[in-house]
């Protein structure tokens, strides 16, 4: 009997082309960031010139610093709130407004960013809040906590409930059972959630544009205004640095999930 081959040539071709499509533009971008020439068309040899230029660009550095601060603080708050949300939704009994709550959670995942950004700005204006670091942080937290909640909730959902019961059976009160058993087991998802929130915040242009004030631009806002004027090699360098930072984060994330791989299933970075 001829065994049906599971992986056809068509399967392999579509996979290879798909991955090439996903990666080639980024690889090209990285390579060109080391181009000595100012003209993108001309390859002028390897050089770190544009990195040098970036590190001397005060406005750019300030924007990058702002972005990093916002990303770290919003990701941290979002992880806290998102984890609480996931626990409440997957372990808590029905409470008043549960449907509304979960609706509010899933909507921002797909809601066009222009709407989220605009609505938050109108709130901040009405509250007379000074726009800058905190308003962007709050806006990003609102968006990213929903992603954290989804990531953590799906891990909680796949967790065997009898583990928590076993912990209580062996003398833990509910809170202790959560801390001793549930939390260590969902830790990779929480870490992954934080990283996701961090990169989403670092990435965001639209919501930050709405909610930030004059003089406190984030990196994407700066990049965007430069890109509108055309391709600049310096932007390639900045983008490469951001990609490098994110690559480091992904490596850390996969190491973190390896360390706790005793769960039998490795947590994907999403």
């Amino acid at each position: 009997m001829r065994k049906l081959s599971r992986l056809s040539r068509f399967n392999i071709a579509s996979l290879a082309m798909g991955l090439a499509f996903l990666y080639l533009p980024i690889i090209i971008l990285v390579i060109y960031s080391f181009n000595a020439s100012r003209l993108v068309t001309v390859w002028g040899g390897w050089s770190l010139r544009w990195y040098h230029e970036f590190f001397n660009d005060r406005a750019m550095i300030e924007a990058a610093w702002m972005s990093l601060r916002v990303a770290v603080s919003s990701a941290t708050i979002a992880t806290l709130l998102g984890t609480l949300t996931a626990v409440a939704l997957s372990r808590g009994e029905a409470f008043r407004g549960r449907t509304l709550f979960s609706g509010m959670l899933y909507a921002p995942l797909v809601m066009p960013e222009v709407i989220t950004g605009l609505s938050l700005l109108l709130l901040f204006v009405a509250l007379n809040a000074e726009r800058g670091f905190w308003t962007v942080t709050i806006a990003h937290t609102t968006l990213t906590m929903c992603f954290v909640a989804v990531v953590v909730q799906s891990r909680l959902g796949s967790l065997d409930r009898s583990l928590e019961e076993a912990a209580m059976d062996l003398g833990c009160n509910p809170l202790r059972a959560f801390l001793a058993v549930t939390l260590p087991l969902i830790a990779p998802a929480i870490v992954a959630g934080w990283m996701l929130a961090f990169t989403l915040s670092l990435d965001d242009l639209v919501i930050a544009s709405f909610t930030t004030g004059p003089g406190s631009a984030t990196l994407p806002i700066r990049i965007y205004s430069e890109v509108r004027l055309g391709v600049k090699p310096e932007i390639n360098a900045i983008c490469t640095l951001v990609i490098g930072l994110i690559a480091v984060i992904i490596v850390i994330a996969s190491l973190a999930s390896k360390l706790s791989s005793s769960q039998g299933e490795s947590a994907a970075p999403l």
């Binding site: 049906l4 797909v110 999403l270």
Partner: protein
């Protein structure tokens, strides 16, 4: 019926902080959008009128209600610019989603058929670009598509064209950008359902005499429909409101609704019209949003 009673009560309190946060920073802001969309445009800072003052009491509230007008919505309905923008947003989103499905399905299918260990690797490979900045990915394409960019250089070198092709500021560039940016969102839900499917089902179908294409159409594809639904919604909804990609890659002669909203807000400083545009966008997206929400909930709460 698993230990719910014990965990339930304390776990419920975990909802308090995030609940308050979401009401304050997600729900309440929509109230403001709605209110301002019904306000008059004014040349002021902030540029709208009337500003509701909660300290002024009931009379002021009544006055504020009396001042509400639907002029902004009338404007949106009568001005071709906006009507076209909505129509264009929906057609672009529909076309792009169809393209994404066509391109994403074979990739997801290929992933699901890889040996187990390689599936994990392929999944990481698909997710990683999603972690790199959205803006950077668009910028990468500008690099390639510009007048003297790599694509034109290759085409010229191969003598496929005699003159550089204009790629930037065209719909083609925009579609490339959208497909590129949203591809992981399409692949992942598709892959999730395809990977869960028992390979035995396909074997059973071919055992019962179905040729490969029938196995696909009669068994594989129908069973992957939940994934198709999730992927389509996950792409369609945000694309309708997309701003960055059309702004950077498409021409400026026809705008999408995200762009007009941005323009009204930042350039024309007409907040009430921008708010009204946001409300209309939200209404347009209400049905897919609700569908998506139901899908999400069902998926996440299956384990309960």
């Amino acid at each position: 019926m698993s230990g719910r009673r014990i965990f339930a009560r304390p776990a419920r309190f975990a909802a308090i902080a995030p609940y308050v946060w979401m009401v304050l920073f997600f729900l309440v802001p929509f109230g403001f959008v709605l209110k301002i969309s019904l306000s008059q445009t004014a040349i002021a800072q902030p540029p709208y009128e009337p500003l509701f003052d909660p300290t002024a009491g009931w009379e002021a509230l009544k006055a504020a209600f009396a001042a509400l007008s639907i002029d902004n919505f009338k404007l949106l309905a009568s001005d071709d610019l906006y009507v076209f923008a909505y129509v264009r947003s929906l057609t672009v989103a529909a076309t792009a989603t169809a393209l994404l499905l066509l391109i994403g399905y074979p990739i997801a299918y290929g992933m699901a058929r890889l040996p187990r260990r390689w599936q994990a690797v392929a999944m990481v490979l698909v997710i990683v670009p999603f972690w790199t900045s959205f803006l950077i990915r668009i910028y990468a394409w500008i690099n390639i598509l510009q007048h003297d960019g790599l694509l034109n250089q290759i085409l010229l070198a191969l003598h496929l064209v005699s003159r550089p092709v204009v790629w930037l500021s065209t719909d083609t560039a925009m579609y490339i950008g959208i497909v590129y940016s949203y591809l992981p969102f399409m692949i992942l839900p598709l892959y999730a359902t395809l990977a869960k499917m028992e390979p035995v089902l396909e074997e059973a179908a071919s055992d019962l005499g179905a040729p490969p294409w029938q196995v696909f159409w009669l068994v594989t594809f129908p069973l992957s429909l939940p994934g198709v639904g999730a992927g389509v919604l996950l792409c369609f909804i945000p694309i309708v409101g997309e701003f960055v990609i059309p702004d950077l890659l498409a021409g400026s002669n026809s705008l999408m609704i995200g762009q007009t909203l941005w323009l009204e807000f930042f350039t024309n400083k007409d907040w009430p019209v921008a708010s009204a545009a946001a409300i209309v966008l939200l209404v347009v997206l209400l049905v897919p949003l609700l569908l998506y929400e139901r899908l999400q909930k069902r998926q996440l709460e299956q384990g309960r």
